[in-house]
Symmetry: C2
Subunit: 216 residues, 2 copies
């Protein structure tokens, strides 16, 4: 066998290219992420990235993977720091929204422009996506077990996630043009979630599980 690219060298090039791609996306948007530009900035030829990634979509997928990993780490840190169920759920929510606020371009890349990604995401990406959901799920489960809320943990997690993602997404789409800053709105949403649980803990029926047949 002849000389082969060391694992380290492969990883180095991959991370370096991901960093450049992320930076260019943040600066010039998706249109600025072009194989030629990335390669120029890295000092290699246009098709060299094809040794390390299958596609352009594959490159973006790697950036997304890193994004979900950092989001998961932020959530996990929040979970570790807060044992109380109610406060933990708030802390996870805050960590989620803080991530979206601090790394807006990463968050955008993670959730938007879906067609630019390969239809079959990497196993690694799917794993990180799941990992980023776990702190939410576990926090909700803990809250359910503590009697703070009632209902299916999965459904409740989805609702929680939707509330958080909605705030982040609308903010990034610049649809929230009130006087409130993103941080204020984030805190308002977290507070609202906490109040929801405090009030739900005083009542018996589960808030979902069956779609009510309520007509006008």
């Amino acid at each position: 066998m002849s000389r082969v690219l060391s694992e380290q060298a492969v990883a180095d090039f991959r991370t370096k290219l991901c960093r450049v791609a992320a930076r260019r996306f943040a600066e010039f948007g998706y249109a600025g992420v072009t194989l030629r530009a990335l390669s120029d900035e890295l000092g290699c030829s246009r098709t060299t990235p094809y040794r390390y990634f299958r596609d352009k979509a594959d490159i973006l997928g790697a950036v997304r993977t890193q994004g979900f990993r950092r989001l998961a780490e932020a959530e996990e840190a929040a979970v570790r720091a807060e044992p109380d169920p109610l406060l933990r759920l708030q802390a996870v929510g805050r960590a989620y929204l803080r991530f979206a606020g601090e790394e807006p371009d990463n968050y955008r890349l993670m959730f938007e422009v879906p067609e630019k990604f390969s239809p079959a995401p990497t196993a690694e990406l799917r794993a990180e996506v799941q990992r980023s959901q776990r702190p939410l799920i576990e926090s909700v489960q803990a809250a359910v077990e503590a009697g703070l809320i009632h209902g299916s943990p999965t459904t409740l997690t989805h609702l929680l996630w939707a509330a958080l993602h909605g705030v982040a997404s609308l903010h990034l789409a610049e649809k929230l043009t009130s006087g409130r800053t993103f941080e204020e709105l984030s805190e308002a949403m977290v507070t609202l979630i906490a109040r929801q649980m405090q009030s739900a803990s005083n009542e018996r029926p589960s808030p979902n599980e069956r779609s009510p047949d309520k007509e006008s």
Copy 2:
């Protein structure tokens, strides 16, 4: 003066092109919306659309405008049909989510792929976006006046919108892979919003307005 394109003919071509663009977007994604393909499907030459639209971005902008208009109309119909403040708010939320569920590609186009649109949106588009917000704002305001919730109507509207958009957006991104259907999750969210208000109406302090200084 010589013959000039009649208003009707211009409008016809524009709407026809928008319809084709929307259909191709739904079928092939953004990559399927190409001036060549649109023109072929319309039986004209590649650059003919440039007589009726400034840009490709302008075409997508027109499709988006129509989408926001239909969303606004659906919301307004829901408002008209339901006078009771609480039920009206639920009805608007249901109409919003039903629209997202029934026209997923339109909704996606309205809120995603922001870089593909002109940085300065048309006045018409901005008007329709605002129009689609008004039923939410007015429903929230009515609920505030009825004493169902307390707080800044703008902030509360943003939170409501975020909750709705979050459900729709995560669903369209295919991130919600639980057993629940989109309809069930929508109803769960609407129910949760209603419960939030019912519980809030029994208490005095406003749920936001000031970010609470709660520490662990």
